[in-house]
Amino acid sequence: MLDKDGIAKRIAKELQDGFYVNLGIGIPTLVANYVPEGMNVTFQSENGMLGMGPFPYEGEQDADVINAGKQTVTMLPGGVYFDSATSFAMIRGEHVDLTVLGAMEVSEKGDIANWKIPGKMVKGMGGAMDLVASAKNIIVAMQHENKAGESKLLPQCTLPLTGIGCVKKIVTELAFLEVTEDGFKLLERAPGVSVDDIKKATLGKLIIEGEIPEMVI
């Protein structure tokens, strides 16, 4: 079973040299820590940064340099600041190569829900709807089940949607899956996790073809 850093490490293996990547809040943020050595990846923060770096050293935080999660960050050399309209031009225009974000639910058609729980939570979608409607390549990083032990990989989403037919891949603590026309295709098991464990935790249609290899992280 993977911890949060394990999920991030597995996603990091999907990075490619030269990629521009937008990381959502939570587990996705951790992906930045595991960029393979020597690989050039540029992080986009939709509030207006390309080339976002790590948190600043204590005392060096700058109120004018924050990321989309409103955290103080730093800018790497060669980076650039821009405005929100230009930022979403990058996103809608498919110039961002990979988007990694969290989800409350994903359907076997690739629908995603991650912005609203009616009557309970009304935080807003932020940039998530633009990102999922536009990205060529979307990976969801999440727990396989919610806190009540219910599967988050469903035949169809029950919560208000963020976008439809957009999720391409999912990494959970249990598995690495691809969203295909026929449903969730199991690509890899997390270390120490059996195919049966994954079956039990997946409510949507799960496709298991041949031997499922264990992830190498």
Binding site: G59, D62, K70, T72, R92, V122, M125, G126, M129, A133
Partner: protein
């Protein structure tokens, strides 16, 4: 026609009850904090505010919320504000949540004389309800409209007496597309310099989009989430 105003009070003197106001900033970053303070002080009510966020409980638009000066809020993310959530769940506040890129583009469209455009954001979700949808090149899009706001209020780092603006770092955010998006645009700046001092190649917002400009009395520039790492020894 003078563009330079003495302070936030003078620049916002004709903002009255029930107006629609577009306000720049992302979270508390690049926030027109002097103008917001002036609106709080003058107690103008029934405002429709268009801004990416709703501030925090005791700063930014949160101050106007606490005072019940906002009737309707149009934003993309309002998750940092408990009072907001309370007013919303109690039905005291009308809220329209829209995708962040759509918000940015609707502001740009407002400034740029584009009455409507198509975006894929929100297709198939409740955001699309009641809106025209349409296929282009095999993909579905929603038609989104520009805003009609009385005022747009933005914050920049440096400005000149012609209204030209330069932003610093990530404060450019919504301030740039919002400049020009209201009937009247007010810019508050940390430093106001005489026209001619800014390099014409490095100005982010041309002064034509700005009708009023003033130097803010002071900037708290509060940080919403201080995240740091320890220096390795």
């Amino acid at each position: 026609m003078k563009k330079v105003y003495q302070n936030a009070e003078e620049a916002t003197h004709d903002i009255t009850d029930n107006m629609t106001i577009i306000l720049g900033g992302f979270g508390l970053c690049g926030l027109p904090e002097n103008s917001i303070a002036a609106l709080v002080n003058k107690g103008v009510k029934g405002l429709t505010c268009i801004s990416n966020n709703a501030g925090v409980d005791d700063f930014g638009l949160g101050l106007l919320l606490k005072n019940h000066q906002i009737k309707k809020m149009i934003a993309s993310y309002v998750g940092e504000n408990a009072e907001f959530e309370r007013q919303l769940l109690n039905g005291e506040l009308d809220v329209e949540l829209i995708p962040q890129g759509t918000l940015a583009e609707r502001c740009r469209a407002s400034a740029a004389g584009i009455p409507a455009f198509f975006t894929p954001a929100g297709f198939g979700t409740e955001v699309a309800i009641g809106k025209e949808t349409r296929e282009f090149d095999g993909k579905m899009y929603i038609m989104e409209r520009r805003f009609h706001a009385d005022f747009a209020i933005v914050k920049a780092w440096k400005g000149d007496t012609n209204g030209n603006l330069i932003y610093r770092a990530a404060t450019r955010n919504f301030n740039l597309p919002m400049a020009g998006a209201g009937k009247i645009t007010i810019a508050e700046v940390e430093e106001l310099v005489p026209a001619g001092e800014l390099d014409p190649d490095q100005i982010h917002t041309p002064g034509i989009f700005v009708k009023r400009i003033f130097q803010g009395a002071k900037y708290e520039k509060r940080i919403e989430k201080i995240t740091v790492r320890k220096r390795e020894i």
